[in-house]
Symmetry: C2
Subunit: 251 residues, 2 copies
């Protein structure tokens, strides 16, 4: 039975896509079958893996193509259902449904989810009908939060929004808060990390440190494990893979 | 006649709100009458100025309150039309209009824009009906772009989206590209800055350097000019105010 994990926060630029892509890549390297679903009109998950899908989530949601035609094999054990601009049109279609709009993604995914161990969803920043659809489909929420004031403000706002979804659907649960952009040279992020650990002790994961390799890897279309295997960035995401897979021996 | 400038880029966390707030604050300090309009459900413009508006853009768009009741005076010469979660409801109303949806903001703003020299619009990341409304109302586009690979990918995608709007409305023009998070200690951002200058010589503004003061100022509810008046961050935004106001003596 696939674990369905959405990587999400309304605040922009906190490392959602970087985390979805590297967590997915790491789980695949550890031997799990992973489907990475990009629900963002920016389509940056495929870009970060060096792929340019001609069809993806849009064509799955409109049913103009079969699942097999929408999913591409990005790596061994790692499949990708790409996002991109065409999702904007699908969002309008979903918005105009008079009922059941929030179940659109769940219905489209039902026939294919049994093939995977993990379904990792990357989401767009902001808050819209597609993110609501993700929260009506996923079971676990992983929130990357950059260690800065504005992202922390975004975190508390997002958790209220999540709460309003949970009134309608108890299955969606916050599970992981991943501090990102930890910089041991600056006090601010360290203080915010200490504060987060106090506020959310049961959810806090090992932090991802600031590392230029993470911002460079995308221009080579590589995961961090391919681009900088010995780096602290690789070590940090490896830790996250172990925590999420509950497998101390993963990777 | 008010200059209507939207600060926008679909990519998250590139400094849109930081730029809208500090550009608006600087123009106000220079003596111009400025209205800062926050069209983002995150409502972070008000937060960065230390204000918690009880009414704002939502109530203006639904017409449940008069403009006077929606606009608060945040500083001398600086008025604020706040954003926030309630905008999500308004977005749904706009989405369901069968015609004229993209002119909703323009209609609501028509009666009040003559009171200001500048109307600065902060926008949410992503792409939705409210951003389309902003692009059908504003005349000038200012794009902050963080000097990293993914934001640059976001810039080229955004410019294509802007082009598709321009087919319907010639009045909206790209005017400023503001490189942000320039870090003189790292090669990557410097190389990307050089690249941007080559690609867009007519739009490139003096860059905003990475500076912790910019991420700290919001927790005190202060603009950079109030929080760190002597800093390079203050100097950088001062330069932007001069460029935008076309006034070498501003501030
Ligand atoms: N730990 C890190 N160290 C250095 N750079 C990073 C790190 N994590 C992410 N980045 C870079 O920071 C930028 C933002 O990351 P990313 O695109 O993953 O965030 P996001 O939350 O998906 O953004 P959006 O809200 O636009 O979807 C990118 O340029 C990315 O390469
Ligand atoms: N030049 C800078 N130096 C250091 N920190 C900065 C700088 N500019 C912005 N920041 C910080 O970076 C983060 C992102 O900035 P900001 O919120 O303005 O971006 P945004 O594009 O409005 O994000 P969103 O896409 O979520 O609306 C914030 O924590 C902000 O305080
Ligand atoms: Mg992303
Ligand atoms: Mg913002």
């Amino acid at each position: 039975k696939a674990r369905k994990i959405c990587v999400t926060l309304s605040k922009g630029g906190v490392g959602k896509t970087t985390t979805a892509v590297n967590l997915g890549s790491g789980l695949a390297l550890a031997g799990y079958k992973v489907l990475l679903v990009d629900t963002d009109t920016q389509g940056q998950s495929a870009y970060m893996l060096g792929r340019k899908p001609v069809a993806g989530l849009t064509e799955l949601l409109t049913q103009e193509l079969t699942p097999k035609e929408c999913i591409l094999e990005a790596r061994k054990n790692l499949w990708l259902l790409g996002g991109g601009k065409s999702l904007a049109g699908v969002k309008r279609i979903i918005d105009r449904k008079s009922f059941g709009a929030e179940w659109t993604l769940s219905e489209a995914m039902a026939s294919l989810e049994h093939e995977y161990d993990f379904i990792i969803m990357d989401t767009s920043p902001g808050w819209d009908q597609l993110i609501v659809n993700v929260l009506f489909y996923a079971t676990e929420v992983l929130v990357p939060v950059a260690l800065e004031v504005m992202p922390l403000h975004g975190l508390s706002e997002f958790l209220k929004s999540l709460g309003s979804i949970q009134k309608y659907r108890k299955e969606i649960q916050l599970k992981y808060i991943v501090p990102t952009f930890l910089d041991n040279r600056i006090k601010g992020p360290q203080n915010l990390y200490a504060e987060l650990k106090k506020l959310y002790p049961e959810y806090i994961c090992p932090p991802i440190r600031y590392n230029e390799s993470l911002s460079e890897a995308p221009s080579f279309g590589k995961s961090i494990f391919e681009f900088a295997p010995g780096s602290t960035a690789s070590a940090d995401y490896r830790q996250l893979v172990r925590k999420v897979s509950l497998n101390e021996n993963a990777l």
